[in-house]
């Protein structure tokens, strides 16, 4: 293999695939990145066997070939090289990659490309097109609710449901639930329901950050995999096995109080209260008071730390319904208020021990359910 490419292109490609590199694997080749010539380009691949990412980088190819080299060393080295042309040549016998750039030269010992697991490629059947911007927003709004601990593996995933011309993503860690819907440009032939690891979707959001073309998605239930194809990046992920808990049942069908608040002010008030709540199990109390004779009501947000002190914030709100006081984990409120783009949000509540629902005002494609904190008896 003998190729040359620009330092900045290679550095960017390495950072795109870098997050899929296995960090603690017993298989040494999984800590490596595969470099291979492919259809006149340099293909970079990394996988931890759950997620695989491939990325194509423009390069001048003099001689075809492939090798894997340690990801960490290669990325760190390339990142620190000057913005210049890099010439790479593989010694096929010793599996050593020679790199030259400006007045630097390095030899990096690799592992045979044949030992690298085959990253499956995209099939053509059942492709679903997704607008990149709305996809990124969906990912952001939904993955925050997924569980980070592995005690219930299905909850570390995001339920993806394709039906008619609609895609629904849902995730829950057992305490909160995010559900986001989006219109598909074309209806799907068969309804499908799979669980995609939240981490894979977060990576997809990251690697598609500059994508302007539609992202193609293909689900292979036989292989239990999902593929995403972009202009110069492919991402494949294993699906999570198991049944997602029935989430529709826990979305409250009614509410006693609907409170419309300015999103940014609500977020700021929670952020201030969080300073006091973080030492006291993140507890913030939200008290909603309806206005008199149809006038505006108000909302009081308070937090108390037994050791540090307390804080109260007050804001105006349009309140429909009865007075309510409810306690939430401030972290959960902050998470969801940070991914809502609309100027106003509605908080729907019933009692201090029943779930609260947050929806953007002026859109029906997103909802978030949070269980309150309540006296445990």
């Amino acid at each position: 293999m003998k190729i040359s490419c620009l330092q900045e292109n290679l550095a960017k490609g390495l950072s795109t695939v870098g997050r899929a590199v296995a960090t603690r694997s017993t298989l040494p080749v999984l800590s490596n990145i595969l470099l291979a010539t492919d259809k006149g380009q340099l293909k970079l691949s990394a996988t931890n066997l759950e997620i695989g990412i491939s990325c194509w980088v423009g390069a001048k190819i003099e001689e075809e070939g492939a090798v894997t080299v340690p990801a960490r060393l290669l990325s760190d080295f390339v990142n620190q090289l000057p913005a210049d042309r890099i010439d790479m040549a593989l010694n096929a016998r010793t599996k050593t990659l020679n790199l030259r750039c400006a007045r630097y030269e390095a030899n990096i010992k690799g592992i045979d490309a044949a030992e690298f697991p085959l990253i499956p490629t995209l099939g053509e059947d059942g492709q679903v097109s997704l607008g990149p911007e709305s996809l990124r927003e969906m990912i952001e709004q939904v993955t925050l609710a997924a569980a980070t601990d592995e005690s219930r593996p299905v909850l570390t995933g995001v339920l993806a449901k394709l039906e008619g011309d609609q895609l629904t993503l849902a995730a829950s860690d057992g305490f909160r639930l995010s559900v986001r819907k989006a219109q598909l440009p074309q209806a799907v032939a068969q309804p499908q329901e799979v669980i995609i690891p939240a981490r894979a979707l977060q990576e997809l959001g990251r690697v598609s950050a500059e994508e302007s073309e539609a992202v193609q998605m293909v689900i292979s239930t036989q292989r239990s995999q999902v593929f995403f194809h972009m202009t110069s990046v492919d991402l494949v992920s294993q699906l999570v096995e198991g049944a997602f808990p029935p989430y529709q049942r826990i979305i409250p069908a009614s509410h006693a109080t609907r409170t419309v608040l300015d999103t940014a002010s609500f977020r700021d008030a929670i952020r201030l209260a969080f300073l006091f709540a973080r030492d006291s199990a993140n507890i913030v109390r939200v008290r909603v008071t309806p206005g008199e004779a149809g006038g505006n009501g108000h909302v009081t947000i308070s937090a108390t730390s037994a050791e540090m002190g307390d804080n109260v914030g007050e804001m105006d709100a349009q309140v429909e319904g009865t007075e309510v006081e409810i306690a939430f984990n401030a972290r959960y409120l902050l998470d969801v208020l940070s991914v809502i783009k609309s100027a106003q949000v509605a908080l729907e509540t019933s009692t201090a021990s029943s779930p609260g629902v947050i929806r953007p005002v002026g859109g029906s494609d997103f909802l978030h359910v949070i269980m309150p904190m309540h006296i445990a008896r």
């Binding site: 639930l177 006291s280 507890i283 984990n329 445990a376 008896r377």
Partner: protein, 388 residues
């Protein structure tokens, strides 16, 4: 305006209550406390016993060596509590500004009353003596610090065989002069180690502390140095606190014999955790921090603590944390003299409810049923079992 603060201390309180029950004890050397063979300590001792050197908090075995004929009286806490309430009721009849600091001690702020402090003290002492047959001593001063020390000084200078029934008044303006000749140990916040460090600086009396440059005290004792300097001059503006919110709750036991059996120790941990959980429940609180205390036979005492993700009030969570701390602290086979479990960071026991998980409701119903049983048939009727 200068305040008038009274400090009241019941003289040898437990003994005085015992003498009411059994007048034959009057004038005899006796002590209320635990039996010497079970490592009991002296909770209170009569003035006759004090003349032999017996003091509160002393191991009963030592008290008996000092005073061979000492009568040991088993404590009756219910009776002391009742008598204490009777006293406190009479204090509250005088003013709302009463701060009870222990079963037999209280501060009163009588600034707003028309009579001078000394007259109020005399009347109070006479009333408690006449109606309850209990002796007490009082200190009168312009703040809590000096009033309390006045009581102590008054008691120490009393003559005669009976209870001191002292009243000592420190007029406003003379606080510093009153404190100056007293040993540094008499001041609030000066324990044995502080006294030792003060002595190393050539400081023996409270007057020495007052005369020392503040900067030097701050250098030696950090921010406590400021308080020391102020207190030594008789300055204290702390108010009468009529309501104390608990900051922690704990339970501990000293074994009659040192215990090194793991199962026995863990069983005690469970019982202590359950007791603390019941205390929390009674107060309607949960705790964010669980603390374990272990004392080895050589009196080395270790405390370890763990923070919980949310305030716990259920026995299971407190037990689990106590056992985790025990695992980290105890070495197999090591003998334990005292073991204790406590919680702090008290707050409303809010718990993150789960979207699907309904177990908390079930657990709540079980706890409710257990409490109902305990209320009817006593605390020991049912306890959480240990999986064997």
């Amino acid at each position: 305006m200068s305040r008038t603060i009274l400090h009241l201390d019941l003289d040898a309180f437990f003994c005085a209550v015992e003498e009411l029950r059994d007048p034959a004890l009057r004038g005899k050397a006796f002590a209320v406390g635990g039996q010497p063979e079970t490592r009991g300590v002296v909770a209170s001792c009569s003035y006759a016993a004090r003349r032999h050197g017996v003091r509160s908090a002393m191991p009963m075995s030592r008290a008996l060596r000092l005073c061979p004929g000492l009568l040991v009286v088993r404590p009756r806490h219910g009776a002391y509590h009742e008598a204490s309430q009777q006293v406190m009721e009479r204090l509250h009849a005088l003013t709302e500004l009463v701060e009870q600091i222990s079963i037999d001690e209280a501060f009163l702020d009588v600034t707003a009353l028309p009579e001078p402090g000394e007259a109020i003290a005399r009347r109070l002492q006479a009333r408690i003596r006449a109606e309850l047959e209990l002796p007490c001593s009082l200190g009168v001063a312009s703040n809590k610090l000096v009033a309390k020390i006045a009581t102590d000084v008054g008691k120490a200078s009393a003559r005669g065989d009976g209870p001191p029934s002292a009243i000592l008044v420190v007029p406003p303006g003379s606080e510093a002069a009153f404190l100056a000749p007293l040993p540094a140990r008499a001041l609030w916040g000066v324990g044995p180690s502080t006294a030792e460090r003060l002595a190393a600086l050539g400081i023996a009396t409270i007057g020495d502390i007052a005369a020392a440059p503040e900067a030097e005290l701050v250098r030696a004792f950090g921010k406590n140095g400021y308080a020391l300097h102020r207190h030594a001059q008789g300055l204290d503006d702390s108010p009468i606190v009529t309501f104390h919110e608990a900051k922690s709750m704990s339970r501990e036991v000293t074994y009659a014999r040192d215990v090194s059996d793991e199962r026995a120790l863990r069983r005690t941990l469970d019982e202590l955790a359950d007791d603390v959980a019941q205390q929390l429940h009674a107060a309607g609180k949960g705790g964010l921090t669980v603390k374990l205390k272990l004392r080895w036979p050589d009196f080395t005492t270790l405390t370890r603590q763990e923070s919980l993700p949310e305030p716990a009030c259920d026995a299971a969570a407190i037990r689990a944390a106590a056992h985790r701390l025990f695992d980290k602290t105890w070495e197999r086979g090591k003998a334990v003299r005292l073991i204790g479990v406590g919680v702090s960071g008290l707050m409303d026991p809010l718990h993150q409810l789960g979207l699907w998980d309904r177990d908390w409701q079930r657990e709540g119903r079980i706890l409710e049923a257990v409490r109902e049983l305990q209320k009817r048939y006593g605390a020991d009727v049912v306890r959480r079992g240990a999986p064997e």
